[in-house]
Subunit: 314 residues, 2 copies
């Protein structure tokens, strides 16, 4: 069984905690290393197994990720847990390959405008880089880390406006051809609705065959869970979220952040998917986050309302 | 064309504003009559046409509804607008029939426990009352007000626990046999998930044929919009919501209230449904509500993030 198959068993719903990466992208303050470790341990105890823990970026500019290597080591020590980290180029991948990280994330854009503005690379150049990264991670390794390529701005782009699904699918296909194990489709700015999500999920899955599709939603306009439900309905089995919805949107000040992990876990439960997560136990991890980042806005309906009584016994 | 057909044209998505009824059920303070009138006028200007404006209840115990008759008169004066009011028994219906109200709501429970606890009537007795109310509204009228019968606790009950869909469908069928023009299925306590919603919507629509199904969701656990999307996907065309999500849950202190009207309108737009509502213009009505009820918690992602740029021009 490859590492990719161990990370993402077919048909099992996997919720990826991205709070320590996407959730910390825009914040003014962040948890200490000890607090991050506690957060990870408590979420792991609640059954979470997939943790995206940072970006390989210059620590001088992104001090919130300065302890990324330690986070990867922490996750390695948690039974059955997998770590992921974002890389922006071959240099980041080289750094990642010196760690025991299980999954390398690399992101391309659905639109030319965002690709150029964000990375000064065309979409074609970005896919070429993905191909080089795939070779780089495989070089000399029999079981290299999983390579997940994300397609950003897949449901709308603040620079290019509406995005045609065929543009997204072109990048999805290109990423798979480049060698990615998983293709993640991201509603980076929170424009997606469930009908678009269902359509794109269906088309992407048809295109990719056995290569799993992940989806990444922001709750910017309140539709993260509606979109997650639509994705699950179309067979998507890998979804990103962050505890307490940590993470903002650079294009919508005050907006909610990522899909709320707790609420997404509850959604999965109502739909009959076993994520292995003890939803009530997530509250402890949330308390650590709230104490560590008292100035950050936290989100989530379940944290306010509690589980329905009938589920609290389970 | 009957009044019911004018209120609810086949295949048109209708969003019913229930803030002045369900939104005021639990509050400690409420808008003045003048503020309510302004709220109604501004939402009407934004394209909203369906307003549930109160309950026929003793004004001494429910002073927030003391001006219900005036609200009904206000809605009568708004071009193309329809008013609805909740009635709990024949006495409330008699009161309603003295007004120009367009729609009478009557609620039965999906569970025996809630029916008895809430109204001291069995479910069978409640359906018998619905039948009498149907006769009462028709007596001497060629075009009586629409009778909408709601089925409460349809996705879970804080008294009875989980609720079998067949129990709900029995009440749905009974309500239609009693003469209701519309059957509303309500997730009173916010336990529903989109898979249950889709299932029940499909079954109810199959059972009811031409009698329209409405659905009423609370955002107690963050799934109101996911559930609304599932309902729309199954052909439900009438949905309740309240501006800023006004309205709490008596069984979950601090919980969010009704589905957020603005966000639901945005959801419909992403799904390609024309509700006739100018989403950006709802902001003015929201300002009136916020000024009138400064101590109430308001909700909504769109109010924080704004519409995607590409939609603000439309």
């Amino acid at each position: 069984m490859t590492l990719a198959e161990r990370l993402y068993p077919k048909d099992k719903v996997v919720l990826r905690e991205v709070g320590l990466r996407d959730g910390l992208q825009l914040v003014q303050s962040w948890p200490t290393t000890a607090q991050k470790n506690e957060w990870l341990a408590l979420e792991h105890r609640a059954g979470v197994r997939h943790f995206e823990v940072g970006s390989f970026l210059p620590a001088a500019r992104f001090p919130q990720f300065a302890d990324l290597r330690e986070m990867i080591a922490t996750v390695s020590g948690l039974d059955g847990a997998f770590s992921a980290a974002l890389t922006l180029n071959e240099r980041g991948v080289a750094d990642a390959l010196e760690t025991p990280v299980d999954e390398i994330m690399f992101v391309v854009s659905a639109t030319e405008a965002h690709s150029e503005a964000n990375t000064r690379r065309s979409r074609t150049e970005a896919l070429e880089m993905a191909r080089r990264i795939d070779a780089q991670r495989r070089a000399g390794r029999t079981d290299p880390p999983v390579l997940t390529v994300g397609v950003a701005m897949a449901f709308g782009c603040t620079l290019a406006g509406e995005v045609e699904p065929k543009e997204v699918l072109r990048m999805v296909e290109g990423a798979a051809e480049a060698g990615a194990d998983v293709i993640a489709i991201a509603d980076t700015v929170g424009w997606a609705g469930p009908a678009q999500v269902a359509h794109l999920a269906r088309e992407a899955r048809a295109l990719l065959g056995d290569v799993p599709v992940a989806m990444h939603f922001h709750d910017t306009r309140g539709l993260a869970l509606a979109n997650a439900a639509a994705a699950l309905g179309e067979g998507v089995r890998i979804l990103d979220a962050s505890l307490a919805g940590l993470g903002g949107c650079p294009f919508a000040p005050g907006a909610t952040g990522n899909a709320v992990f707790e609420d997404l876990a509850f959604l999965c439960r109502t739909m009959g998917f076993d994520t292995g997560i003890d939803i009530a136990a997530l509250g402890e991890a949330r308390s650590v986050l709230e104490a560590a980042m008292p100035n950050e806005k936290v989100h989530g309906a379940l944290a306010r309302a509690g589980l329905p009584e009938v589920l609290t016994q389970a």
